[in-house]
Symmetry: C3
């Protein structure tokens, strides 16, 4: 679809309505999605505890790009394009590793941990290594969480940090560790995966496990009284009762969205688990369970849920036009020991079963929207967040 046709399609889009078929099936629109959204937004790459030692690295891969997230010194993390500057070979081949130098296996060009070229044989006398380096992309670390941005000049991360640091501090995420991380492949355009995350209209029909404990699933049943109770307990427990929301068209800088909001669990539930009871030790400086939970978001496609005993971080990325991935990290206190302080199966149960269900419904959604007879329908009152996301999406990729 050429640029004019894309712009016309966007201009004709009715408000509060699902996206047209073309947004899920057109290869040119997909390329705009990558260049205008993914290569310009702050994206969650992983957690500092995953690369504790100098030389530790893991790969972050999306839409055909591969980035080496590496600790180059005790307090410095780099994000390096995983593409040799000689003939373009991929350099790091496994998912994670530890190296003193990054050496391309093809012709043995060798790079320092910060990406600078150190060794390249047979290049002749005139060859100047000093100007050659693996491409560095921007990184920021917020409470231990590593965010990266491919843009040459990304929107500043400072507003995100300023807004979220205090709210998140009680969790001491900087001292947390990843108890489990899993990637769920989804056979659907990435937007269907994000749309699914942005609304809880589907929670009651699709997620009985989640809906048992989370009041987001039934906002109409939530009383002001319950909210008030939880918020006052939150403060006693050392948690923040602040709510911030600068997302999508309201974000302070492109791709630098942030939000933080605490809300009640149903009575009898104090965390997100099969029985509503704790699955890990209280996190950080939190003193007790307040009966609530927090949603937070950094950038347009990375979300998180912070319970009193664990935090789960979601990231949605495209793989190709009809494939995407949902990457989930479960974080617990850095000193919590698996088997003693927590049982991994219990810890991951809720969001594993919920994501498996989401994968299924997203994939059936993908089958449906590819029909020539699919007509985008009206959004419900529980899809406000989805419409915020969609309006931003349409404006962002408009040529």
């Amino acid at each position: 679809m050429d640029k004019r046709a894309i712009a016309a399609l966007i201009d004709a889009h009715p408000p509060r309505t699902a996206l047209d078929r073309a947004f899920y099936t057109d290869a040119d629109i997909y390329e705009r999605d990558i260049s205008e959204i993914y290569l310009k937004s702050w994206l969650y790459a992983g957690h500092g505890s995953e690369i504790p030692a100098v030389g530790d690295w893991f790969l972050f891969e999306l839409a055909g790009e591969s980035v080496i997230i590496i600790r180059s010194s005790e307090d410095k993390i780099h994000a390096l394009l995983n593409v040799c500057r000689h003939r373009g070979s991929k350099i790091c081949l496994e998912n994670r590793g530890r190296d003193r130098k990054l050496i391309c296996r093809y012709h043995a060009w060798a790079y320092d941990l910060d990406g600078r070229l150190r060794g390249a044989a047979h290049m002749g006398e005139d060859f100047d290594k000093s100007g050659i380096s693996l491409k560095n992309i921007h990184t920021e670390v917020l409470e231990g969480m590593i965010y990266v941005n491919f843009a040459d000049q990304p929107a500043p991360f400072k507003p995100v940090r300023d807004a979220l640091t205090e709210c998140l501090r009680p969790y001491r995420l900087d001292a947390a560790r990843v108890a489990h991380r899993q990637t769920y492949p989804i056979n659907a355009n990435w937007k269907l995966s994000v749309e699914n995350y942005t609304e809880c209209y589907h929670c009651v029909p699709s997620h009985p496990e989640y809906s048992r404990g989370h009041s987001l699933a039934k906002p109409e049943a939530r009383s002001a009284k319950l909210m008030q109770e939880v918020m006052s307990r939150a403060l006693t427990c050392g948690l923040s009762d602040k709510a911030v929301n600068r997302i999508y068209l309201d974000s302070e800088g492109f791709g630098a969205d942030y939000a933080y909001e605490r809300y009640p669990l149903w009575r009898g539930h104090i965390t997100g688990s099969e029985d509503g009871q704790p699955v890990a030790p209280l996190m950080g400086d939190i003193k007790d369970y307040d009966g609530g939970t927090t949603d937070f978001q950094v950038g347009p496609v990375c979300f998180a849920l912070a319970y009193c005993d664990y935090v789960v971080i979601y990231r949605f990325t495209p793989v190709s036009l009809h494939k995407s991935e949902c990457d989930i990290s479960w974080l617990v206190n850095g000193d919590a020991v698996e088997g003693e302080d927590f049982d991994k199966d219990r810890l991951v149960w809720l969001w594993d079963v919920t994501t498996a269900a989401d994968k299924r419904i997203i994939e059936y959604n993908a089958e449906g929207v590819s029909s020539r007879y699919y007509e985008p329908g009206p959004l419900s009152e529980m899809e406000d967040y989805t419409w915020k996301y969609l309006s931003w999406y349409l404006q962002t990729i408009r040529p």
Copy 2:
């Protein structure tokens, strides 16, 4: 390939010649095949006996479209697009089922059996359900066989019904049942699959099992005397000796082709089976075996063979540019009991072995026509029907 190039290719096509490579490999031509042929023609969906009770349904899927064939009341069958009117999710997920309402698993929008929206939560006070319904496509039932048409205004089905009802009546297909149904995936453009069905030039080299009993395979060996014998017996047995043929460019309305013709089996064969002997009870009102068999056709891509003891219905559909499907239903008397009145393996043997062979040769044909050096060759005297089909095809998709 743009429209001008397609038109030029068609205008240059020599008579009685196979199709050019582009018709099997070009994505734009494929899209025209779908929009101009499949979405405007009468297509065999299945048989009423497959959905005996109210609320019974099965799916008919082709070229990325999914249709729910459902019995909404004792005497009414609907064909509903399997795409939710909210955000486009697929609604019915299995191949067949029985439901009192059709409920989308994503957000629980609920539809009546005729497709009308009945339930949709959280849509606000102004929301008017009454104008919203799953898209209904046209359906017709002929002697129990369900035909559907995606067109807004399809060619009338009445001429088909008028021409075929009397001929088919002795078989009492309205009281028949599907003893076996099977889909054969074929890695080839759908046209190669249909071409294969339209000629018996390949029967002698490729189908010894069929050629043993069917005189179509060797028309030069068929005597007028044999024909006469069978036709006179046909009338005695209660079968029609009529022949009708309004297909392709001669059809009364677009996509509403029909044909019916009876012809002799070789002496010693009275049905289509491994030994030429019966594999099921005589169908309907037929009194005895006359030594003949009937070919009939409804629409451009759905064919059938009616033996005295069973009827086999063929449907060819595209899946994607290089994939198609052959769907076959074997029908017997409604009261015939498997294991007592017929043996399923014996019943399906001939057309299973023949279709497996066809799949093979069609796929090798697909490999050949994708060569840059393939030159379409001249058609034989035994490919008259193929040329009828191809001339109609070329005229139909010409932009």
Copy 3:
């Protein structure tokens, strides 16, 4: 990418630099690769010993084309397009076979061993078989090696024959036989496979097994003295010390490149094997091991290594944009008996392990060059041959 954009990309290409991403990912460039290079160059099809008897054939397949290499008489080999002249079916379906006639399985059109149509039933009285034949492509046999060319008027093969016959004669390849032949699928554009073959810059990092014995891997360590020693022994052993090199932009005719060069193995190695010791009887008229080996090349994408005891022939072909194949034949003396005169595992070891490693590094190269951030880098002094190949490539496909 349209022709103008391709030409502009080529005109902007800096010297001695790797290719731009588009050359590995663009479908239009790929089609030019096929039409301008593969369908106009001399390509190694196989060896005469693989089809010893009249009627013996094997298939040569590349980029969707299939060619029957068949012995039509004791001294004549044909290369026939494997596409029936009727409706385009593939005719020969296995990899190799022996037939008295080539009969299409679809409608039984029958062809002589030289491709002339002999039988076609039901074609009517006016049908003239005499003008119809499977398309023959050009073939040449050089010392038993069969080369083919799809072009209508290929560059003459005579210069290749004139230059190489004498050098190759001592090996008596015309009396050799294929002890093993294997195809290695490579998930990469064909050019990455050929680039890999054209340089030994990667040998030390990637091929320790090869680098142990072959001085090409460390040219800087090779003394003039070693060269002189081997060359003088070569003549005593009955081998040629000639070197010829008319490749790529220096070739005498398009796609008719040739090269022959002998060079030393490291001391202690007299052939290409795990321990540097012989793995088969001396070939042809060679009297003794001289401590050297020969590289030779015919056409742009077919290479060979001639050791004193065996010859290994490489051919690189595209399968599709992102898939290629490396086909390798190991030739030994025609009278050498497996299990007695040679052990097949020892014979194939070096080039099997080396090609498996190449497959791996080529595929990682393919992953890297598909990055939007890949920048083609400078070539080393050990990539002169690669640059010769790339300059010719760019000039050849320039629209």
